[in-house]
């Protein structure tokens, strides 16, 4: 990543811009930083004016309490299974579909393209009862597969892959064809290699989305052996009879997102780098 002069900010007042960047970044992160601090605050010390950060001492009691109020261990496992299951199938379907739309011309292509795109546009609310009925008829009720299966085809992913594939230079593709490559070989040797970053980019957004999905899993599962983290979280955010227990709430929230954050932190460099080559011009 080099400092090419196309960046307006690189020229004007670099030092000021650096400061601005970090200040804005700090501000942007305040909500989560507050949540982190609040989660270590004793539950018996309420928030009040001028006293919303640290309590009199740091404590793990909120995490212990949150952990005990729902079977988070099982929920973690379920969430990971669902998320990985969805992602692995999606990677296959979106690659094949993106390839088909980018590489071929066939009758009804545009119609089918928008048909698939519909999937991005339908609110979950409208889908609940009919999908419930479909899942029941497939005999999948209360399984992790049931949570995952409606998402095996991904319109967003197909869109992204199609964009990425379209950005491959024509000469490369033509060279491949002239060399007598089959479609399979074209896909694997010409289209996919430069698009792996796009796959990774999609993977990140798919994982984040399905890790945090709430309503459909809640409705399609009944038992803790299939339920994901968000259903446990909802026990803390929907405490209708009482006021907010900020310490407990923030602890539970952070427990749910911590693995994602940590994974993102660790793989941040690679993820960002791969995003940077998704072929979107």
């Amino acid at each position: 990543m080099d400092n090419r002069p196309k960046n307006i900010f690189a020229r004007a007042g670099t030092w000021l811009m650096n400061l601005l960047t970090f200040v804005i970044a700090a501000i942007w992160a305040v909500p989560v930083i507050w949540a982190l601090v609040a989660s270590f605050r004793p539950a018996s010390e309420p928030m009040s004016r001028g006293n919303v950060w640290f309590g009199t001492h740091l404590t793990f009691e909120n995490y212990e309490r949150a952990w005990s109020l729902a079977p988070f261990g099982q929920y973690y496992i379920n969430t990971i299974v669902v998320v990985l299951l969805v992602l692995s199938i999606q990677l296959i379907t979106i690659t094949l579909a993106g390839f088909a739309f980018a590489h071929f011309k066939f009758p009804g292509r545009d119609v089918l393209f928008f048909f698939i795109l519909l999937q991005m546009m339908i609110p979950t609310t409208a889908l609940l009862a009919p999908n419930f009925s479909t899942i029941r008829q497939l005999g999948l009720f209360d399984t992790r597969l049931a949570i995952a299966i409606p998402y095996f085809g991904s319109a967003f992913g197909m869109l992204l892959m199609r964009q990425a594939f379209l950005a491959i230079p024509n000469d490369l593709v033509d060279a491949g064809i002239i060399d007598g490559c089959s479609w399979w070989q074209l896909l694997f040797h010409i289209y996919i290699p430069p698009s792996v970053p796009a796959l990774v980019a999609f993977g990140l957004s798919s994982v984040a989305w399905h890790w945090n999905e709430f309503l459909w899993p809640l409705v399609i599962t009944n038992s803790d052996k299939s339920r994901p983290l968000t259903t446990g979280l909802v026990r803390f955010t929907q405490l209708g009879e009482i006021g907010a227990r900020w310490s407990l709430l923030t602890a539970a929230t952070l427990m749910v997102v911590a693995p994602l954050f940590i994974a993102f932190l660790i793989f941040q460099r690679r993820f960002i780098q791969s995003y940077l080559h998704t072929g979107l011009k």
């Binding site: 196309k6 992160a29 409208a126």
Partner: protein, 300 residues
């Protein structure tokens, strides 16, 4: 529309592409198209599950649509939705672009800044909204504290003031999504050709001119993609409205999908809910299709 138009030779209608998209089509058909078709079909019937005599559907043609469009509460919902969409999309895209520019530099610790801008995407919307619920608390919520620090002395009742309620949920949405759009702009910026910039520099173009005359036009495809995603997302995400304002006060923050929820699950009016779904789908479809047609027509 594609830059590659290859056909396996010696076949008039290639079978292969259909096979390739078949898995996706199956899942989409089963779990999206079928429910939507059902919805659209149901929208022409009167069916209210909580009134015994209306429990079985009766055909009423466009009756549900007429009922909607003559209902002032629905029209209020439409105007709220328009305001919400116009308020969140340009702002979050502009901020995303700004962030991308800011972090597209070689600087120690810039990765940390990237993380800070991007991390809200990783949170469940319910959690993000709950944290912001605290931030919006009058008097000591951090958002109000910060505003007062900057000299703001206006109303602080973000969730209870009808003029502010919609803005409060827009703020949460912008905070959550800007980082996501930043990523795509970052990709676009990285892939810009340097020769154009060198030429511009040689011509003595100012930074501002370069930005508007070169950078932004070159990022058009990225922008179109982001606008599509942002538009759809603005319609589809309402978790934060449940948490912060419950659609109020006095329906001030009720948007289309929230109304759909109410009608479907609270009022159990299947017909009207189906009509709302149909409207929802049509709006998004029209937007997406026209977006694509317009963008693909101009070949960069």
């Amino acid at each position: 529309m594609s830059t590659h138009q290859h056909n396996p030779p010696r076949r008039r209608i290639p079978v292969l592409p259909y096979l390739l998209i078949l898995p996706t089509i199956i899942f989409v058909a089963l779990f999206t198209a079928w429910p939507v078709t059902l919805s659209i079909y149901q929208s022409f019937f009167l069916q209210r599950l909580n009134i015994a005599k209306f429990r079985e559907p009766t055909f009423i043609g466009l009756g549900n649509y007429v009922e909607l469009f003559t209902d002032p509460s629905f029209l209020n919902t439409v105007s709220n939705t328009i305001m919400y969409v116009l308020g969140t999309i340009p702002v979050s895209i502009a901020i995303g672009f700004l962030f991308a520019m800011l972090v597209n530099r070689k600087l120690r610790g810039i990765g940390l800044a990237r993380l800070a801008f991007f991390h809200p995407m990783v949170l469940p919307m319910v959690s993000a909204a709950t944290i912001w619920l605290f931030l919006f608390t009058p008097n000591y919520g951090l958002f109000n504290t910060a505003l007062k620090f900057l000299g703001y002395s206006g109303p602080e009742n973000w969730a209870g003031n009808p003029d502010l309620a919609l803005i409060s949920v827009m703020i949460v949405a912008v905070w959550k999504n800007s980082g996501f759009y930043m990523i795509f702009y970052l990709a676009g910026l990285q892939n810009l050709p340097s020769d154009v910039y060198e030429a511009a520099a040689l011509d003595g173009a100012s930074a501002w001119q370069t930005l508007w005359a070169i950078t932004i036009p070159l990022l058009k495809r990225t922008t179109v993609f982001i606008v599509t995603v942002a538009f759809i997302d603005a319609f589809r995400t309402i978790d934060h409205i449940f948490v912060i304002t419950q659609g109020g006060p006095s329906d001030a923050s009720t948007v289309l999908l929230y109304k759909l929820w109410q009608v479907r699950f609270e009022y159990q009016n299947i017909g009207v809910a189906a009509a709302l779904t149909a409207i929802f789908v049509v709006v998004l479809l029209v937007f997406t299709v026209s977006n694509f047609v317009l963008s693909e027509r101009r070949k960069d």
